[in-house]
Amino acid sequence: MDSVNLKISHAPFVRSKDSVESVMYNVALALAPATAMSVYLFGMPALIVTLVCILSCIAFEWILDAVRKKESNCLDGSALVTGLLLALNVPSNLPIWMLVIGSFIAIAAGKHVFGGLGYNVFNPALVARVFLLISFPAAMTSWPVPLSVDMETAASPLGILKTDGLAALGDFTLMDGLFGTMNGSLGETSTIALLLGAAWLFYKRYITVTIPLTMIGSVFIFTGIFYMIDPTTYASPLFHMVTGGLMLGAFFMATDMVTSPLSVRGQIIFGLGCGLLTAIIRLWGGYPEGVSFAILIMNGFVPLLDRWDLADRKALNQKKAETK
């Protein structure tokens, strides 16, 4: 070896194996149990929804990178995760053209208008979900009944609770919520499958407990207070735990690295905000479910929360410099 060929670079010369790809593909892997469960519950249509969302998100990522004259990273896994999350957030009978529009909104309005991965303020999948919910309210709120053969549709437990009251829920049990044998979007059904995936993310240390714990905890306490006041009007906090998108939102969307605060203090405020807004919308809002709105609203506060920590840190450094 000749010293002329020596390569010069700066320390450190070893790097961890983690990459954007490994983070994203692990999140996708963590969503696999919930996806598999949805295919079991809703059959072929669920698989089609999932594939359409994933493929169109990756395609739009590639197109938009090309339009913006950027080197394409469409296979880095972030578009895959966005597509997968979007699929888990819609009913299995949503027409394909709506899925494609949703995917476009997620990638274009959710991500690329801000500058691409890392710069987006709002969770792209949730931007698309809320867009679809507002644009096509009927299609987005009639869910196929799981394990049914004749494609009959019905409202979700939260929807029934909102329009017809607690008594109309009938024979719904917590077990239905845990295993997912209830009406809902692909990923809003089986709590157990979602927890299994979340456990993987904790194990790989891609997420911490702060946000899920504060978010779920505040929903539990808030709905619990009203359940104690009037159990004939308000559903039990356990009902709120296993229905709707709470678990999916708390473990997979509120914890999105790009759109959540960096400091623990910020994360606690963020989680509490997500939880309280979810509970308020569920109890008194115009929509039966509030997780998407709650997370998106709190996403908007993240730059402010980060700035607060920054101001504190700077003040601390200034104080130390002065006492020196």
Binding site: S16, V23, N317
Partner: protein, 441 residues
């Protein structure tokens, strides 16, 4: 098990040479002894072309308070005094010596060991200064200065740094095993400078159980605590080691003596023993030659001034895949730009690697995962420092704690977006320094 409280990482240890006994490397055909082997001003040459020198003879004289003496590492004739490649990445004034093959010591050097207890405190400091001893862990701060804290600073805890937290390096590990008595004696000499009132301990990471045992047996009767530390990088950094061993925190802007602590490297302790008891100047050190791309991995005792070229042929040449050579450890070392660069007093290792990441790694945008914040042992926000450095906002970056960064590289190690975080921070530091120099000038 003890360790430091904030941050830290655990890179693959790769201690491939931990079982290889130290081999003495023979005198090479030519030596290139740099006059810039320490922090501060380079030494002034006191020899010129044609001067006959003996082993251990002074060839460079300390220039000012923060500087250190440099000695000939064999006997021979001075061939030239001229700039030569330096492992730090620049050229430095160096003394080239053609050995005469006799390897003959200067009269009075390297004597039979005498008892250090007969020397006064001032005599010991003078001997350390004369021997040109500097911190051998990497920074190269003159040891005599470090051992003379300003009046009013009360040292109550002396710590020997046996952490050796950098992957691959095993030089201190071997020294602790093979020269355990000298290590302990060196620590006793340092303790005596503080009237023996300071507590003496040795912090060793738990991945070196044999070294922990060896030093425990020798140290226990003398009241020296050997403290096993949980293996974690950067435990060998001064501030982190103090925190791990004593629980004290060195705040930004403070030096260890502000918290009553004094840290010395294992190699430095041995050098202190040899200088005080054997009147032997610092002319050789243990170097770990390792990495995946060298045929024979070894721990060698190399003379200061041995060029990397000679070390490569002593270790059976590099493999065909080597594309990068690092002086020091893989986390904080420097890439070598020439094999004509020599071993200095601070060269702890020479690593031959195939850095695949060089072509592959492209900086991606930050995905705000927060890992750099989690691992920063100084509690900084490396992603933000790097962003502000890229924006060249040098007022803002100082408020964010730029000066507190110890450049350990943990943030760059963990970053999934492969951002060159510590590089941007070093860049900002350099520019901030330049700006301050211009202001004062």
């Amino acid at each position: 098990m003890k360790t430091f409280t904030i941050g830290g990482i655990h890179p693959p240890e790769n201690k491939l040479t931990e079982d290889k006994a130290i081999e003495v490397m023979p005198v090479p055909a030519e030596l290139c002894i740099s006059l810039n082997q320490h922090l501060g001003k380079p030494a002034k040459p006191v020899v010129k072309m044609g001067t006959e020198v003996k082993k251990g003879q002074l060839i460079g004289e300390a220039d000012g308070f923060i500087s250190a003496n440099v000695h000939a590492s064999t006997s021979g004739k001075v061939k030239a005094v001229k700039p030569a490649p330096h492992p730090g990445g620049q050229y430095a004034m160096s003394v080239f010596i053609t050995p005469d093959g006799n390897d003959e010591w200067l009269e009075g050097c390297n004597t039979a060991p005498v008892d250090w207890k007969k020397f006064s405190k001032e005599e010991i400091i003078a001997k350390i200064k004369d021997a040109g001893i500097v911190g051998m862990g990497g920074a190269g701060f003159p040891t005599n200065v470090k051992l003379s804290p300003p009046p009013g600073k009360n040292i109550d805890h002396i710590i020997l740094n046996g952490a050796e937290c950098e992957p691959f390096l095993t030089a201190d590990h071997r020294l602790m095993l093979e020269s355990a008595e000298e290590v302990i004696a060196g620590l006793e000499i340092i303790s005596s400078l503080f009237e023996g009132k300071a507590k003496a301990s040795i912090g060793i990471e738990s991945n070196k159980p044999d070294a922990i045992n060896a030093l425990k047996q020798l140290g226990a009767p003398k009241g020296i605590d050997v403290i096993p530390l949980k293996t974690k990088y950067p435990q060998g950094a001064e501030k982190q080691l103090i925190n791990a061993v004593t629980g004290r925190t060195i705040e930004p802007g403070e030096l260890p003596f502000d918290k009553g602590c004094l840290v010395q490297n294992i190699g430095t302790a041995v050098a202190i023993y040899e200088a005080v008891c054997k009147n032997k100047p610092l002319i050789e050190r243990v170097v770990t030659v390792s990495g995946m791309e060298i045929t024979e991995r070894k721990n060698i005792l190399a003379r200061v001034g041995t060029t990397f070229k000679d070390i490569i042929s002593f270790c059976g040449n590099t493999t065909a895949h080597a594309n990068q050579v690092i002086s020091g450890g893989p986390m904080m070392g420097k890439a070598v730009f020439s094999f004509d660069a020599p071993v200095t007093k601070t060269t702890s290792g020479l690593l031959f690697i195939n850095n695949k990441g060089l072509e592959k790694s492209k900086e991606r945008t930050c995905i705000r995962c927060g890992k750099c914040v989690d691992v920063c042992p100084q509690g900084l926000g490396p992603w933000l420092l790097a962003n502000v450095a890229q924006l060249r906002d040098f007022d803002e970056i100082q408020l964010l704690g730029l000066a507190n960064c110890t450049e350990c590289g943990s943030c760059t190690f963990v970053c999934p977006s492969k951002r060159e975080l510590v590089h941007w921070i070093k860049y900002a530091k350099a520019l901030v320094n330049n700006r301050q120099k211009r202001k004062t000038a």
